[in-house]
């Protein structure tokens, strides 16, 4: 069973709203750096950067962060997750970092991402933007910007399919086999 939660248009509208919220909350774009979590988060961070840049006529730096080496379940899986590239384009010390991810679930990825970020410097603040919050947090973590709250059961899967991966933009909910 597959259910579409957001289509291409929905995703675009949600990102536009988050872009405005980021500007509003931070009173502009000064000192901000967007950092996407590999892989979905990186694509979304780039889209947000383009939107914010267009609204504020400003260049928004975008970084990418791979969290594989900071996970808390290393050695518990059959295969190690693929380590993708991390590229933080600016000195993050004293910057406001906006972490971007596609789906917020247990919060463990965000914990790993914050640890990974801290190895690059001491940001003034870290904020979190996610496209979907599906609940079931296992750590005390909350997002500052949420595209859509979607209550799910543990037996369901949410998948963000994005154009950058060669798919049609959509967010789908599936029952796990």
């Amino acid at each position: 069973m597959t259910k579409e939660l957001l289509n291409k248009k929905d995703i675009d509208r949600v990102l536009s709203r988050i872009a405005h919220e980021i500007i509003e909350k931070n009173k502009g774009t000064e000192n901000i750096c967007l950092v996407g979590i590999q892989r979905g988060g990186v694509h979304l961070a780039k889209r947000l950067s383009a939107k914010i840049g267009a609204i504020e006529q400003a260049e928004m730096p975008v970084g990418s962060l791979d969290i594989s080496l900071y996970r808390d379940d290393i050695g518990m899986r059959k295969e190690q997750p693929v380590v993708r590239r991390t590229d933080i384009p600016c000195d993050i010390t004293d910057k406001k970092i906006i972490l971007v991810d596609d789906v917020l679930f247990t919060g463990r990825s965000i914990r790993a991402a914050m640890d990974a970020l801290m190895d690059f410097g001491r940001p003034a603040e870290i904020q979190l933007a996610v496209l979907i919050d599906r609940g079931h947090r296992e750590l005390p973590i909350r997002a500052d910007y949420v595209g859509k709250n979607i209550p799910t059961s543990m037996s369901e899967n949410i998948e963000a399919q994005l154009e950058e991966e060669g798919l049609e933009d959509r967010i789908i909910l599936q029952a796990k086999e």
Partner: protein, 304 residues
């Protein structure tokens, strides 16, 4: 995959995964904080039955930068370790609760034997004249970094191939990726490698012509007991790489050496220090590649 005992045992996709992962670890080594917590809580023992400074240092640094706890188990090099006592040594070490055993031994096949008998992941750091898989992986990584790939490259491996585990592992790896391999050296030091796509040259000038990569091997004084060549002077005259000979290779050829170098014997100082030499890149890349190997083996507990 539980162990890395040899390149022979790896598939092309395994090697590609190691090299891709190593690229990410190389980025880590460029940061201010050159350490990641990936293998926190895991323990590694470096079990070297043969003297080694470089490989051991490189492994130890890689182990520390991926956050394992490191144990160095030094074995007196003079003592003869027989099959049974070797296994007892390893079982004792395993009882300490180690997750990785990095082993170097003067006898071929020892890492394979140990891997079959322990639950820990075994990494071969050189066994006799058989293989030195992490060296071949770091060599491949270094070549890809400079040349963009391996397929179709002309690679000359020069020197004592017979006694070189580095050469063997490199032949196994490069042939999996469609490189044209040339073995260059005196007839006494080139083994029969039929079955692999290699060309043999007993004349260095012919062997180096138009190659893209020159891998020089160290003359292993400790293994030269039977007089495979008359003298080091003679060897150097015939098989040493100097600027004149380097000119025979492609003008963008890279020069590699696994170290430690015998300057003035197999490689002249001006070549070793030239812009075409990537010998120091090999050293840096070795750390990244060894981190990648440990990371990928470290997740195999589920199917061990």
């Amino acid at each position: 995959m539980k162990d890395l005992v040899g390149i022979k045992e790896l598939g092309r996709d395994d090697i590609e995964r190691i090299l891709d992962t190593a690229a990410s670890f190389k980025d880590v080594l460029k940061r201010d904080i050159k350490k990641v917590p990936a293998l926190r809580g895991k323990t590694v023992v470096n079990l070297f039955f043969e003297p080694s400074t470089r490989t051991k240092t490189s492994f130890e640094l890689a182990e520390k930068r991926i956050s394992t706890d490191v144990l160095n188990f030094s074995v007196p090099t003079s003592s003869v370790v027989k099959g049974e006592s070797l296994l007892d040594t390893v079982r004792t070490i395993e009882a300490y609760g180690v997750d990785f055993i990095v082993i170097r031994h003067s006898s071929s096949g020892v890492p394979h034997f140990i891997a079959r008998n322990v639950k820990a992941s075994v990494i071969n750091a050189g066994d006799g004249i058989n293989e030195h898989p992490t060296q071949a992986l770091l060599d491949a990584f270094s070549i890809v970094e400079k040349k963009g790939g391996l397929s179709g490259l002309k690679v000359a491996i020069v020197g004592d191939i017979t006694h070189s585990r580095v050469a063997k592992s490199n032949v196994y790896l490069l042939s999996k990726f469609g490189a044209h391999i040339r073995l260059v050296g005196p007839p006494t030091l080139i083994p029969d490698m039929s079955g692999y796509d290699v060309e043999v040259f007993y004349n260095m000038e012919d062997g180096l012509k138009d190659v893209d990569v020159i891998m020089m091997l160290r003359i292993q004084m400790e293994r030269q007991v039977k007089g495979f060549f008359p003298s080091t002077e003679e060897y150097s005259k015939n098989w040493g790489l100097d600027e004149q000979r380097l000119k025979l290779a492609d003008k963008n050829a890279i020069v590699m050496h696994p170290g430690p170098m015998n300057r003035g014997i197999e490689i002249s100082s001006d070549v070793a220090d030239s812009a075409q030499s990537i010998i120091l890149d090999q050293v840096t890349n070795g750390i990244a590649v060894r981190m990648a190997v440990m990371y990928l083996l470290g997740g195999a507990k589920g199917n061990a």
